[in-house]
């Protein structure tokens, strides 16, 4: 089943000029797609149009069901008096009428999702007191509680140490194996190489396909331009903080 089908997409922020154009790709069940690009290149713009927050100015953009969104954990308000469990339970808000309390079954499931990402022992801890990698795992547990077939992850490895990164990658591999679609925006070319598909964007689509086809020197140069450097024969992207 196709989870995302985008063709000739042009989208923007309402000031008339498109922020991202010429995007054509599809993502099916059990596939993981890396969206690679520089700051301001349109990665977050693509996620926002897939979430229905930005208009489709031209082309088409079809998404099966409501995707779950995993924002960068640093963008959440870390000073809120909410526990890891409270955050995960937000994943049940959409299916719980406003006048009803969250059911006990939802709490049980929320614990199960935390267990799944290895965070149930920290269920009662304040979200803001967790490490970057732990917060990211909690946000993934929240997305799992939504039971969405498609997860959109916005630079999930930003501010995450190497150990936590390995844990996160393992969780994402599991989700892919069970048939969920993953769309992961990233700066990291090495991360992009491990997914099924790569979409390179820099204001417009530069390349799309399996990593071996999409991550060519030409495509990377067109994606990153001056931000590319070569270290020990490996081409890497140099970027500043923030997102595009």
């Amino acid at each position: 089943m196709t989870l995302i089908d985008v063709s000739g997409l042009v989208t923007g922020y309402g000031n008339g000029s498109p922020a991202l154009s010429g995007v054509t790709f599809a993502l099916g069940e059990g596939q993981a797609l890396a969206v690679l690009g520089p700051n301001g290149g349109g990665k977050t713009t693509l996620l926002r149009v897939l979430l229905g927050e930005l208009p489709v100015l031209a082309g088409s953009c079809r998404v099966a069901g409501r995707p779950a969104y995993v924002a960068q954990s640093g963008r959440a308000r870390l000073d809120f008096p909410v526990s890891a469990l409270d955050v995960v339970l937000m994943g049940a808000y959409a299916r719980t009428p406003a006048w009803r309390r969250l059911r006990r079954a939802e709490r049980t499931r929320a614990h199960a999702m935390l267990e799944r990402v290895g965070m149930d022992a920290q269920a009662g801890q304040r979200f803001g007191a967790l490490s970057g990698g732990q917060r990211q795992r909690v946000l993934i547990a929240r997305a799992l509680l939504q039971d969405a077939p498609l997860l959109l992850l916005d630079e999930p490895f930003t501010g995450v140490d190497r150990t936590s990164e390995a844990g996160l990658l393992s969780i994402l591999d599991e989700l892919r194996a069970e048939g969920r679609g993953l769309l992961v925006s990233t700066h990291d070319i090495e991360h992009a190489r491990r997914w099924d598909l790569v979409l390179c964007v820099n204001g417009a689509q530069v390349a799309f396909g399996p990593p071996a086809d999409a991550l060519t020197a030409h495509a990377l140069h067109a994606t990153y331009g001056e931000e590319m450097v070569s270290i020990d024969g490996e081409t890497v992207a140099v970027h500043s903080h923030g997102c595009g």
């Binding site: 959440a76 308000r77 809120f80 955050v87 808000y93 299916r95």
Partner: protein, 265 residues
């Protein structure tokens, strides 16, 4: 002698209890959503409405609420443009509201428009309408926190992710600002525009220093607002102070002590 034996003190006590429930519950969202300046400003921005109320034959609370909602809508419009920060937009519109009110009061209607009462309120001279309005706002605070609390929490916690959770953030934000405007209008007769933060901001700001959960913040805010409100009334009677400022001083002192204790811990 029991300070609450007289009818006017009993009415003041009832008003404080009702406004404390509203203040403690809405105050939690004010503290979390960083709306303290808005809360202060929207009270003062009722000034032109109150000036017009008398000559136009409109009930003062209705005119005040109208002005507060116009102010809120204008602020939402300015923020949608994104060119001004929230504080700058709030301050800009506040100055505009005060200027319009001053011109209307001085040059058009040539009336004082009860400016003293607008600024400081009078807990000891509340009308039945004031009490009914306070009761309605307390009931709305309970209902809205129960029905919209999850929306307000998810939107405030993670604005970028709230919509993907199926939360109607835009509608929720409108409801929150409108409810705060209404709560401020209800508190004006009791504590006035200058001290409206006494009941709507200070108790929850203090509770926030201590609370580790939403339940703690909401419950703590209500408990502190009740304690400070009733304690302030008692203090006002004991040392012959105006009640509004007495509650404000007590609330400020409690905040200071809690903040110092936390810093020392």
């Amino acid at each position: 002698m029991d300070p609450f034996s007289t009818p006017y003190m009993q009415r003041a006590l009832l008003a404080v209890v009702l406004l404390a429930i509203a203040g403690g519950l809405f105050g939690a969202w004010i503290a979390l959503r960083r709306l303290a300046f808005f809360t202060h400003a929207v009270g003062t921005a009722t000034f032109p409405g109150l000036v017009i109320a008398g000559p136009a034959g409109i009930a003062a609370p209705v005119a005040a609420l109208g002005a507060a909602l116009v102010y809120t809508a204008g602020l939402a419009r300015l923020l949608r443009d994104g060119r001004l920060g929230a504080d700058a937009a709030t301050g800009l519109l506040l100055v505009a509201a005060l200027a319009i009110g001053s011109i209307l009061a001085g040059d058009v209607f040539e009336a004082g428009a009860g400016v003293d009462r607008l600024l400081f309120g009078t807990l000891l001279g509340l009308s039945d309408t004031d009490l009914w309005l306070a009761g309605a706002v307390a009931a709305l605070a309970v209902a809205c926190t129960a029905l919209a609390g999850r929306t307000w929490l998810a939107t405030g916690f993670d604005p970028g992710g709230a919509r993907a959770l199926g939360v109607r953030s835009g509608l929720g934000d409108w409801l929150l600002l409108a409810m705060l405007a209404l709560a401020v209008v209800a508190a004006l007769p009791a504590v006035g525009a200058l001290l409206v933060s006494t009941l709507l901001v200070v108790p929850s700001a203090t509770a926030r220093l201590l609370a580790s959960s939403m339940r703690g913040l909401l419950g703590g805010g209500v408990a502190l607002a009740l304690g400070e409100g009733i304690g302030g009334l008692w203090l006002a009677d004991a040392v012959n102070l105006p009640p509004g400022p007495a509650i404000a001083v007590l609330g400020g002192a409690v905040f200071g002590v809690v903040a110092l204790a936390r810093a020392a811990a």
